[in-house]
């Protein structure tokens, strides 16, 4: 089965490089790419992707437009079956928490080894929750700081792709 992928990132260079990277994987098919949040929602309806790779800092340097977390919320409101994997150059507890609350399925980091992108997309398609190493570490400390402990969060070990993660789909 081929996984249909849509890329949302305001940096054309990242879109191109990701499309090129994913094009060499036989089981992955990039069906669309855009840098605009509204366009992404519309395209998702048209192209029916399985996984959307979403830039967290979608608005770019000039602070115009919608950020990737709001875009995720908007996209999932219309297409709840899509699995959105966040992709960002940075991660912080608040970004991770906001992404999880928006319904994101996973959180990957730009700058981590390139093979994590196809692996992460496949994991998300299988129903697992891909996380970058730093993201997983932050999730653990967030769990400890919250007093619920790693078990409550379901993060078992500092492994790259824990089977269970703090990401929860919104019940609505």
């Amino acid at each position: 089965m081929v996984i249909r992928i849509m890329l949302v990132d305001d940096h054309p260079l990242i879109r191109e490089a990701l499309a090129r990277l994913l094009s060499i994987e036989r089981d992955l098919d990039v069906v669309g790419a855009t840098g605009d949040a509204e366009e992404a929602v519309r395209m998702a309806g048209e192209l029916r992707p399985d996984v959307v790779v979403m830039d967290v800092d979608l608005h770019g340097a000039d602070l115009k437009g919608v950020d990737g977390i709001s875009a995720t919320r908007a996209l999932l409101a219309e297409h709840p079956a899509v699995k959105v994997v966040m992709l960002s150059a940075s991660c912080s507890p608040s970004l991770i928490r906001d992404s999880a609350e928006a319904g994101a399925w996973g959180y990957l980091l730009k700058g981590d080894p390139a093979d994590q992108i196809p692996e992460g997309i496949r994991a998300a398609a299988r129903g697992e929750h891909p996380m970058g190493v730093e993201v997983a570490r932050l999730c653990r400390t967030m769990g400890e700081a919250g007093g619920t402990g790693p078990d409550a969060l379901g993060v078992e070990a500092p492994s790259l792709w824990p089977r269970a993660t703090p990401f929860q789909r919104q019940t609505s």
Binding site: D57, L63, A89
Partner: protein
């Protein structure tokens, strides 16, 4: 109330008190010296006119008739209070007369100073404590005078006289009454004369302090903005491009494996090479943002040329830069000029939609004049759409005003916008 003024008022009050206390001490000393003089004169007159003429052989031998006359004269003087105690000694230390009859005829060891007075007409006066004086229950102070004299028989005697201190105290009070208003008046006058000066000095000190605080805050805000820009530039530029590089190279590697397309690999490596070069340049320009280049003397011109041309080139603008030849600014002014130009060009690149940017830097008299002009869409909603653009120019405006300069943004006659900043050549540290 302002602390400097409170300090001034307290110090003034304190010095007023000190001066007044000193006046009291001085008046007392002056009165004491005058009283001792008076007491000596009074005692000498008393001795020579009243006491000594009555000392004769009869008194010396203690004949009641002789002593009786002496007692009558002496007690009459003591009754009016002008003399408190009185003793008359002969050379052997025997008391020839005292107002206490039981003492008459006793011999006492006299001190050296008193012994030395026998055979002279000299007098010694001192302020003494009455407590402990023989046969006296009195407390307080008295003026004690020893007077050397000769009896009517020509034999030396010493008369010890205690005079009351009231005249001395009255004298001290009189002196104080006369002098104190003068002293207090002059202290008050000096304070009044100094007060406006102190007030204006205090105001200037506080103004300077608050001014420095404001400048410091503006400098910190500007530096904060610079750091945020550097972080954002890194995040949206170099980090994104290097991430793209990280996604591109594995694809090239895959194409170099058996069955891959070498031409694709080659073109991807070319893309990667361009990317690396572009990012080294971007990092270099970020380095300049973090730590501006040497701006001493002629270096300022070179640095301005470079920063404008680099920014214009990256944005596809044509740049014309005119820096006055042999311009030699103090370093803080050079730094401010450089910052104005960088901020101005940044705004042109971001907001003006221009084709040309014109930069002028010159000194006119005691003023530095910097202008950044463009042929874009005009000031309109300048400075800039984004909050960050507003912030950059606003902070720049704050700094320019801090050093006594002014910043204007207006439309150019030929179209576009011009930013003109004038500030004193000797602008303080920025």
């Amino acid at each position: 109330m302002r602390p400097a003024l409170v300090r001034f008022a307290l110090l003034s009050l304190l010095s007023g008190l000190v001066v007044t206390a000193l006046a009291f001490v001085a008046a007392d000393q002056l009165a004491r010296a005058r009283s001792l003089d008076n007491a000596r004169t009074q005692a000498v007159q008393f001795t020579n006119r009243l006491a000594a003429p009555l000392i004769d052989a009869e008194v010396r031998t203690g004949t009641p008739a002789g002593v009786a006359q002496l007692t009558e004269v002496m007690t009459s003087r003591m009754r009016d209070g002008s003399v408190q105690h009185l003793r008359i000694w002969d050379e052997s230390g025997r008391i020839l007369w005292s107002e206490h009859p039981e003492l008459i005829g006793r011999t006492v060891d006299l001190s050296e100073e008193v012994v030395a007075l026998f055979g002279t007409r000299e007098a010694r006066a001192e302020l003494t404590d009455l407590t402990g004086v023989q046969n006296s229950d009195e407390q307080g102070r008295a003026l004690e005078v020893y007077v050397g004299a000769f009896g009517s028989d020509g034999q030396p005697i010493v008369v010890e006289i205690y005079l009351p201190t009231e005249p001395m105290e009255d004298d001290a009070n009189a002196i104080l009454r006369g002098v104190l208003p003068l002293i207090l008046g002059s202290v008050a006058l000096v304070l009044l004369a100094v007060l406006p000066l102190a007030l204006s000095l205090g105001r200037r000190v506080e103004w300077a302090l608050s001014e420095r605080g404001v400048m410091m805050r503006h400098a910190l805000q500007a530096s904060e903005l610079e750091r945020r820009r550097v972080a954002e530039d890194l995040h949206h530029g170099v980090v994104q491009e290097l991430s793209g590089l990280g996604y591109t190279l594995p694809v090239a590697a895959r194409h170099l494996e058996p069955g891959g397309d070498v031409d694709t690999a080659r073109s991807l490596l070319q893309v990667a090479t361009d990317l690396v070069q572009r990012n080294v340049q971007a990092l270099r320009s970020l380095m300049t943002d973090i730590y501006p280049p040497d701006l001493h003397g002629e270096r300022l011109g070179e640095a301005v040329q470079q920063v404008v041309r680099t920014a214009a080139h990256d944005a596809g603008l044509r740049a014309e830069v005119r820096v006055q030849e042999d311009l030699d600014l103090p370093l803080p002014s050079a730094r401010l000029a450089y910052r104005i130009i960088r901020e101005g060009v940044r705004n042109v690149v971001k907001h003006a939609e221009a084709k040309v940017v014109l930069v002028d830097l010159a000194a006119e008299g005691a003023e530095v004049v910097v202008s950044v002009a463009d042929d874009g869409r005009g000031p309109g909603e300048l400075p800039g759409h984004s909050p960050e653009g507003h912030l950059g120019l606003r902070l720049l405006n704050d700094t320019v005003q801090d050093v006594g300069g002014r910043l204007d943004i207006r439309p150019r006659d030929e179209g576009g916008t011009v930013l003109v900043v004038r500030f004193p050549v000797a602008a303080a540290g920025t």
